[in-house]
């Protein structure tokens, strides 16, 4: 299970960082979303991975799973959800006002080359 979770986090992060470095806003937004998914899973696993254990300490159970990272993940999900909405609206506004969806502006300076790189 550790391998599965770790490789999932790695894959999500790699894809997120790749998309973040793209020139147009939509892939960048997707990249941010993937990155926030990776971080949610990562934060969750920081309380150590445990299966079938309650998040409370009592005498009936041998172990417990750490509830704090779960609370943190909830907060992080809410914040990243809201932030994604904000960035989508702002990207849309930038596109509508300037007629270009490039993050770095000034696409007119580009001479040939592959578009969107």
């Amino acid at each position: 299970m550790e391998f599965l979770v770790a490789s999932a986090v790695g894959l999500l992060t790699a894809a997120g960082v790749f998309l973040l470095l793209r020139a147009r806003t939509f892939p960048v937004v997707l990249g941010l979303t993937l990155l926030s998914y990776a971080i949610n899973v990562f934060l969750f696993s920081m309380g150590r991975l445990a299966v079938n254990l309650p998040p409370v300490i009592n005498d009936l159970n041998k172990g417990y799973t750490d509830p704090l990272p779960q609370a943190l993940v909830l907060t992080a999900i809410v914040i990243s959800f809201g932030m994604t909405a904000v960035i989508v609206v702002m990207a849309l506004r930038a596109y509508l006002e300037s007629g270009s969806d490039h993050v770095d502006a000034m696409p007119e300076r580009r001479s040939g080359g592959k578009d969107g790189q």
């Binding site: 973040l20 704090l68 993050v103 502006a105």
Partner: protein, 507 residues
């Protein structure tokens, strides 16, 4: 338990919704609420500073949950100083904005109050995850303020600003997760207790987390190589917002000072002074690049933005020495550079408003209204920013140079600070003479309709300049307070006992 400590967070949090709900159709009423709230914040911050200056560290357990289980707010000399600085800057900037900037978009005053709530919270909190949340609060408000008034260029710069900060927040969460996984705590004081006890095998993880946090704070503070967002953001944001943002880079600086003196300071065992070897070279390069940018800037706002980067470099050079004397000098320069940068952003806008068609481009234009007065303000601000006598920039740089007298690499530090001061002098002198003196060579004058309350913006900008003058005149008492602050920072047991002591006593 003192309830006053939470008021700098609660007051703007209550006023902001009132402004949204009750005063949305009446801009004058919104201004009254916003100004009253900010003035009350200033009075409150000064009262808290008077309390903190006695040397006791006050804590507030939110919801009466004892630390380290609940969230603790902590008021020490450093927090109190930052609160006063925030409120003073915010009041002057708000006065400026109330003369028309706040009507160019919606909800300016509400966003402004939320921004203050986030900044105050970041300065007061004693918990990492809570710090993250307050960072988000102040960032969300700043996204709104950044694109206030709209316009294609501004919104595009805003998108870049949001993206870089979202990446920063992601890194913050990774760092917090790593630190929690090793130490099992998010409370700063508790972290300071547990860092020396971390087993050798986990130390690499802890250091990764701590240095990732440094990276995050460096993004906020615009430290090289994470500075690229700042000139675009500050030069395109509405002028009063850019002036308020002068405190935002200081939030990053504050967090660096707080974390690396408290948890990774002298008592951290194998992790002692973790940040110093990374911070010093980055700060030196930041200062150099910032002041080179001052030389190269085409617009006044851009130039001030680069001066902000340079001043962050200067502050962090002194911070990276990690001695009480250098810390005191760094804090003095921090206060000075915040006030001066805020003033210069407002002055840049005064120039731009009086030169329609030219804006804040550093070019020769015909004479404009109040050229003498605005010019005088600019030269005072430029003298302070460049670090020439007699204003506070000179005192601050002198204190920093003096504190670097006995350290390794003194030659490098001294030569970088002195050379960049020369660059700044050249840059500001070139800009000032182009804007204010060469216009005399051109015939005619720019006529604009006189603004409604012509005195108010000049008074607002002038009050910040007056702040730097006061900082110079009262340099003695101020440095005494800052020396005490630095001493408190370098004796973290006081902080730890104040936060965890109550809980230990109850057991």
């Amino acid at each position: 338990m003192m309830h006053w400590i939470i008021l700098p967070i609660v007051l703007p949090a209550i006023v902001a919704p009132i402004i949204v709900l009750a005063t949305r159709r009446d801009i004058e009423l919104a201004r009254v609420f916003s100004l009253a709230s900010t003035a009350a914040l200033l009075a409150l911050a000064i009262a808290l500073m008077a309390l903190a200056s006695e040397g006791r560290i006050e804590t507030y357990a939110v919801g009466n949950w004892p630390a380290p289980f609940g969230i603790a707010l902590v008021l020490d000399r450093l927090s109190a100083l930052m609160l006063v600085l925030t409120a003073a800057l915010a009041l002057a900037v708000l006065l400026y904005a109330s003369n028309g900037w706040d009507t160019r978009g919606r909800h300016f005053h509400a966003l402004y109050q939320f921004q203050l709530m986030g900044i105050n919270g970041a300065f007061l909190t004693g918990d990492f995850f809570n710090l993250f949340v307050f960072f988000e609060v102040l960032l969300i408000a700043s996204y709104g303020l950044m694109v206030h008034g709209g316009g294609a260029k501004r919104v595009r710069a805003g998108v870049q600003y949001v993206i870089i900060n979202l990446v920063g927040s992601s890194l913050f969460l990774i760092a917090v997760g790593l630190i929690y996984s090793v130490t099992g705590t998010l409370n700063m004081a508790d972290l300071a207790v547990r860092v020396p006890e971390v087993v050798a095998g986990d130390r690499a993880l802890l250091h990764t987390g701590a240095l990732l946090l440094l990276l995050v704070f460096a993004v906020k503070a615009a430290l090289v190589p994470m500075h690229f967002w700042l000139p675009g953001t500050y030069a395109n944001a509405p002028a009063p917002v850019a002036a308020l943002f002068a405190i935002m880079t200081k939030v990053g600086t504050y967090c660096i000072i707080r974390l690396y003196t408290l948890a990774f300071g002298e008592g951290a065992g194998a992790s002692a002074w973790l940040a110093a070897p990374w911070l010093m070279p980055a700060a030196l390069v930041t200062l150099t690049l910032g002041m080179l940018g001052v030389l190269a800037a085409e617009r006044l706002r851009q130039m001030v933005s680069f001066a902000v980067i340079g001043s962050i470099g200067t502050v962090l050079i002194a911070v990276a020495l990690f001695t009480p004397q250098a810390m005191s000098a760094a804090l003095y320069y921090l206060v000075h550079s915040t006030l001066t940068a805020g003033a210069l952003f407002l002055i840049a806008d005064l120039v731009a408003e009086r030169r329609p068609g030219y804006g804040d481009l550093i070019t020769v234009a015909p004479r404009f209204a109040q050229i003498g007065l605005v010019g005088a303000l600019f030269f005072l601000g430029a003298i302070a920013m460049a670090g020439m006598p007699p204003l506070s920039g000179f005192v601050g740089k002198l204190l920093i140079l003096d504190s670097a007298r006995d350290v390794l690499g003194r030659t490098l530090i001294w030569s970088v600070i002195l050379t960049t001061s020369l660059l700044a002098i050249i840059g500001f002198a070139r800009c000032g003479s182009t804007l204010f003196w060469k216009s005399a060579a051109l015939a005619g004058a720019i006529e604009i309709a006189p603004p409604r309350r012509a005195a108010l913006p000049v008074v607002a900008a002038g009050s910040l300049i007056a702040g730097t003058i006061l900082l110079t005149v009262f340099a003695g008492p101020v440095t005494r307070y800052l020396d005490d602050t630095a001493a408190q920072l370098f004796a973290p047991t006081g902080y730890i006992d104040a936060v965890l002591g109550a809980e230990r006593g109850n057991e």
